[in-house]
Symmetry: C2
Subunit: 144 residues, 2 copies
């Protein structure tokens, strides 16, 4: 079985659209995000690229993607650093991540439930909400 090439043009488009030069590491790492239906940790990326790229390059690539709003971090209960693709409407420097993240206690995957609307929450007097993040843990549909 050959490498999945279905994302090739999309990868190219995303990078160019964000004024990032198209390099091997960026293509490969972005491909990983497009393939993964979940979030990736720095370590995952190193492993899945076969450690083909320098650790520093991975850091810098993730940083570049963050700055361009291509990916975002997901806060997790155990404070591991996870990254996931942003929705298209994440513009540079201004994320719209008001969605639900689901952490599966069985397979360990963390996925973005983009389609789930974060419910309104009633805060005590004086608190003015700007952004809401929600992390739900449990059993995902794959492991169900």
């Amino acid at each position: 079985m050959s490498t999945n090439r279905s994302h090739d043009s999309e990868i190219d488009h995303i990078l160019k659209h964000n004024q990032l030069s198209v390099t091997d590491s960026r293509k490969k790492i972005l491909e990983l995000f497009l393939q993964a239906n979940g979030a990736l940790a720095h370590g995952d990326i190193e492993k899945k690229t076969g450690e083909k790229f320098d650790r520093v390059t991975v850091y810098r690539t993730l940083q570049a993607f963050m700055e361009k709003g291509i990916i975002h971090t997901i806060p997790t209960a155990d404070n591991a650093v996870l990254y996931a693709l942003c929705k298209d409407d994440c513009t540079e420097g201004h994320h719209h991540d008001n969605h639900v993240h689901f952490v599966c206690n069985h397979c360990g995957n963390t996925i973005c439930l983009e389609e789930v609307v974060v419910p309104e929450v009633k805060l005590p007097k004086g608190f003015q909400p700007a952004e809401v993040q929600m992390i739900v843990s449990g059993i995902c549909s794959e492991c169900h």
Copy 2:
């Protein structure tokens, strides 16, 4: 002005109740949590104790408190590690942290809104929720 001693007996009780011996570092660090109306980072604790305790002791103290369910970590958007007091019903190894954390974008404080009920969220078919965390950022009542 002298040190606030109003928490002295409470501190003693919490430590003994959790079978932790009552030592200077534990008393002081627990006091910080009781005084703070928000969450603390490792660095905050070092500073607020005047670096009186070894960095390692702080790590081990926090770890002990975590294991006993006295404190819990709060996931934050920037993946900083924050700790906050648990409610009384956090029993050892089994946290009930289904509450809302509020991060103030102005003063930077993170506080637990224990009294706010996390609203139900409707997940896609096949997803079984177990625990829900919610992090709301905005302007807190102090900065309002």
